[in-house]
């Protein structure tokens, strides 16, 4: 493993998109996705334009198409689901290649596929141009409750430590000739999970001691704050802004 960074999607770079303050990017992506979801599915051309917008962002961020497309695979389960829709949905039906398909099901499948794909692509672009630390700062800046950001940041910090512990426990099991091969081994694996929980919890207690020892009294000191200029905001919001225009056109046309 040794990934360390806990963040496989991130691609180091110095593009203008990388340089934007994280909270502007988070806000932009979120607004973009909301606009996409609100677009009527009949306006097929609008989704094409959204895709073009994302492609422009990817180009500006120097994220290669292959990388982006590969990351889209996370959506595969829902493609399977979408494929089912025309078969199971109600209403008027059409014959396609000898199969009777529901019209609304086809629309539904298209809707989920188009919006889902755009959503994943937007998230992937965000994740591949923003470092973990930055994302957390961005969330903090966007006024997510500080406690929630702290929990997230501890989770990120110790995610690797704990998965690494889990890996060592697996190696220890396997070195002693244990290979989980079926349901009858669940109890052994569950013991691993239980031990992992205890270790995690105890580590949480020790981390708390270390924090208290350095003067923690319930709230994290603010060490870093990210700020964005008006120009940066308008640059970031260009994406959802344009998308909004497309969306409004989609409704009116």
């Amino acid at each position: 493993m040794g990934a360390g960074h806990a963040h496989k999607l991130y691609r180091h770079g110095h593009s203008p998109v990388h340089a934007l303050p994280p909270h502007t990017k988070l806000a932009a992506v979120f607004a973009f996705v909301v606009v996409v979801v609100s677009t009527p599915r009949e306006a097929m051309w609008a989704f094409g334009l959204y895709a073009v917008l994302l492609a422009l962002v990817a180009y500006a961020a120097r994220v290669p198409a292959g990388f982006l497309l590969k990351r889209l695979l996370i959506e595969v389960p829902f493609v399977a689901f979408a494929v089912l829709m025309p078969f199971v949905a109600e209403g008027e039906r059409v014959e396609v290649l000898g199969m009777s398909l529901s019209v609304s099901g086809l629309w539904g499948a298209w809707n989920v596929l188009a919006k889902g794909t755009l959503g994943v692509a937007a998230s992937v672009l965000l994740a591949s141009t923003t470092e973990l630390r930055e994302l957390l700062l961005g969330l903090q800046r966007l006024k997510l409750p500080p406690l929630l950001v702290q929990i997230a940041s501890f989770m990120i910090r110790y995610g690797d430590v704990i998965t690494d512990e889990m890996r060592r426990m697996r190696i220890a099991r396997e070195s002693r000739g244990f290979e989980a091969s079926g349901v009858r081994h669940w109890s052994v694996l569950a013991k691993t999970a239980g031990a992992l929980f205890i270790r995690s919890y105890e580590r949480g207690e020790r981390v708390h001691l270390a924090m208290v020892s350095r003067g923690y009294a319930g709230s994290m000191p603010v060490i870093d704050e990210v700020t964005a200029s008006r120009a940066q905001w308008s640059y970031a919001l260009a994406l959802p802004g344009t998308a909004l225009v497309v969306c409004l056109l989609g409704w009116s046309l």
Binding site: L9, S123, L148, R184, R203
Partner: protein, 355 residues
């Protein structure tokens, strides 16, 4: 089963987002009451644990495997408030870092997988623990039932949202049947793993199982050759009583019974359809599970599609197999547990701060 963007329409997503935000806000307050200043590190570490344990593969048969969703486990181990927080943070991070689950569907995902799972599991668990005899076996059994019901309950919650804001007019009956059917199967696996894991924790550190804290025996100390009661724990370690605990338990039990009735109604309504959709939707389940191969964060983004082929008819087989083994497994584990009782008195961490 992370819901992507576009599945649920925008107004419903927003409304659910508000619900989720309110529940998370309430949990933040609740968790602070339970853990005070220890909330951030402890909830963070437990969230990391949930994240990690979702990567632990439980082999089922013929190269397939399942993994824990963790909502019920979190609820039982760390309590409902912290549980909701942990699962929500995991979902948030999965959405932002790995594009797993749509950003607009975050509210839906948190509501279904975080809040409903945790609340149903915890209410049912507490209800059962109150009703059953005060033994560790009851705790394990209660964990099993709580986890079993929590998964289809979450699926029902999703169905309800779909009924309100679904973007395709699939009949709600069909969605419910498919969702609940598949999730009962998943729920059986979840239940077995959760019960076994809770059992494993309770054997070593019973004090860490939040849901069973009041089952702890009063400690006896040997002082000058005489046994005396240990002084009560510091307030931080004491479970925080809900405002009207009995009401909560009663409500939880009733809700769970209603849910269970609803579930079985749909499950029995069209058994043939259930099997088919279960098998078809099994594709979805399988692919997701296999994506979580053993290298935890590393390969998160790449799904192992080839396994989709396998999944076709396996869901049904898995279901039957798991049901049988789970039953015997729990019984067996509980029996073994009794021999391991009271194992660890020396393993006390110095962490009960009074600072």
């Amino acid at each position: 089963m992370h819901v992507p963007d576009g599945f649920i329409d925008a107004p419903t997503s927003v409304a659910t987002g508000v619900v989720a935000a309110a529940a998370v806000a309430a949990s933040l307050r609740g968790a602070r009451r339970e853990l005070d200043e220890r909330t951030a590190p402890l909830a963070g570490l437990v969230a990391a644990f949930i994240f990690a344990v979702q990567m632990l593969n439980f082999p089922v048969a013929a190269g397939t495997s399942g993994h824990l969703l963790g909502g019920a486990l979190a609820a039982i181990l760390v309590g409902p408030y912290t549980g909701v927080l942990c699962v929500s943070v995991v979902l948030l991070m999965q959405g932002i870092l790995f594009a797993d689950g749509g950003l607009t569907a975050l509210g839906v995902n948190i509501t279904c997988m975080g809040i409903v799972t945790v609340v149903v599991a915890y209410a049912l668990f507490r209800g059962l623990v109150k009703v059953l005899p005060r033994t560790r076996r009851s705790v394990t059994a209660a964990s099993f039932v709580a986890a079993l019901v929590s998964v289809p309950a979450s699926a029902l919650a999703f169905t309800a949202l779909y009924a309100v804001g679904g973007t395709t007019d699939v009949s709600i009956g069909k969605v419910a049947t498919a969702m609940v059917g598949v999730h009962i199967l998943i729920g059986i696996g979840e239940a077995a793993i959760t019960a076994l894991t809770v059992g494993a924790v309770i054997a070593v550190r019973p004090d860490l199982v939040h849901g069973a804290r009041d089952l702890r025996q009063r400690l006896k100390l040997l002082v000058n050759g005489e046994l005396v009661d240990a002084p009560a724990d510091e307030p931080t370690a004491a479970p925080v009583a809900a405002r009207s605990p009995r009401k909560v338990w009663a409500a939880g039990l009733v809700a769970s019974l209603v849910l269970a009735g609803f579930v079985s109604f749909y499950a029995s309504a069209s058994p043939d359809g259930l099997e088919k959709v279960a098998a078809d939707n099994g594709i979805d389940k399988k692919v997701e599970e296999h994506a979580a191969a053993d290298s935890p964060l590393a390969d998160y983004g790449v799904k192992d599609i080839t396994d989709a082929r396998l999944s076709g008819g396996l869901a049904g087989v898995i279901g039957v197999g798991v049901t049988m083994v789970a039953g015997t497994g729990v019984f067996w584990a509980v029996r073994r547990r009794r021999t391991a009782e009271g194992a660890d008195a020396s393993d006390v961490s110095p962490a009960s701060t009074s600072a």
